[in-house]
């Protein structure tokens, strides 16, 4: 089948997908005088990261703010701490809205 192809992706886009294609494609048995040469993949490996503790903490804090909002409480904005600017593990102090409960009416019964 011969088709009219859309534009070839630009090299910037291809550089982005390079890290997921490096270990793909057909591999030929080296016994037929074919060899594989490596690429400096250090820069590419760095892009492949897993969710880190920073992410866990960030999501925890976001979830706590959600919970506070759902309960109708006002959570103060977090104060960044540490070198990376994470907010810390401790739950922020939750400030409940000021409520004034009327004192129960006390009726003195006079014993006669």
């Amino acid at each position: 089948m011969i088709v009219t192809a859309p534009a070839i992706p630009n090299s910037g886009g291809l550089a982005d997908v390079l890290n997921v294609l490096l270990d793909k494609g057909l591999v030929i048995d080296a016994s037929v005088r074919v060899s594989l040469i490596g690429i400096e993949i250090l820069a590419i490996d760095i892009k492949v990261v897993i969710a880190s503790v920073d992410t866990y903490i960030r999501y925890l804090e976001a979830m706590q703010r959600l919970e506070a909002t759902r309960r109708g409480m006002i959570a103060p904005p977090p104060v960044p701490q540490g070198i990376t600017g994470t907010y810390g593990l401790l739950a922020p102090a939750v400030v409940a809205p000021a409520m004034v409960n009327p004192a129960p009416l006390q009726v003195e019964e006079h014993q006669q």
Partner: protein
């Protein structure tokens, strides 16, 4: 001069004009080669050029990409490389992938939306934070499945980007529908989507033998 080997195509494949590639034919198959400077390590630029060259080959017919950085000492070794595969299997793959291409789609979901979707009460420990991330990933995968189901029949989830709210997929789409698929992806609601391609079908090659080599399964 040694050679870079880029892919396997039909011997009748039309090379694009002014291509630095050439074909080394073997019966009805051919291996796509280019000259290589001896004793030089593969660079990022050469790897990207390898990909760009393979993409440029797609309009001329199906392409089975070889692993980036495959080299041979001469044309005889390049022919031997084709022979190292089972020719009928190569022909079957060329037929199956004729007119198809791989398109990479990156979906970036809104973090607040994701967290609302997986909301749970009483989250105060690191382990629970880890569980939230896992929940977000499950939610993201399900969203991606639903969003991309009308766009392409076959898709493969690629490696994690490190961001729980980002999904990277390879879609197998007809080459002449790539423009329509791009437009459909761009029109998806509730997500920021970008496409890269068309690329050779790297993630849709399966050259593992369908039948065992012997009755013992070896």
């Amino acid at each position: 001069m040694s050679l870079f080997l880029h892919g396997v195509v039909r011997a009748s494949h039309r090379l694009p004009g002014e291509s630095r590639f050439r074909l080394v034919a073997l019966e009805d198959l051919a291996v796509v080669v280019s000259d290589r400077v001896e004793n030089r390590a593969l660079t990022d630029q050469e790897a990207t050029a390898h990909l760009a060259g393979l993409c440029a080959l797609l309009p001329g017919g199906p392409v089975l990409p070889l692993r980036i950085g495959t080299t041979a000492v001469d044309e005889a070794a390049a022919r031997a490389a084709v022979l190292a595969f089972t020719a009928p299997v190569l022909r079957r793959h060329l037929d199956e992938l004729d007119g198809l291409a791989e398109l990479h789609v990156r979906l970036v979901f809104d973090e607040d939306t994701a967290l609302h979707a997986v909301y749970r009460e009483g989250t105060f420990t690191l382990a629970q934070g880890e569980q939230i991330v896992r929940d977000v990933v499950v939610w993201r995968r399900k969203q991606a499945d639903e969003l991309l189901a009308p766009v392409a029949a076959r898709s493969v989830a690629l490696l994690d980007t490190g961001e729980p709210t980002e999904e990277l997929r390879a879609l197998l789409v007809p080459l002449d529908h790539v423009g329509a698929v791009r437009a459909a992806v761009a029109a998806l609601d509730g997500v920021t989507a970008t496409c890269t391609g068309p690329l050779p079908a790297f993630h849709f090659l399966d050259l593992s033998p369908s039948q065992p080599a012997s009755r013992w399964g070896w």
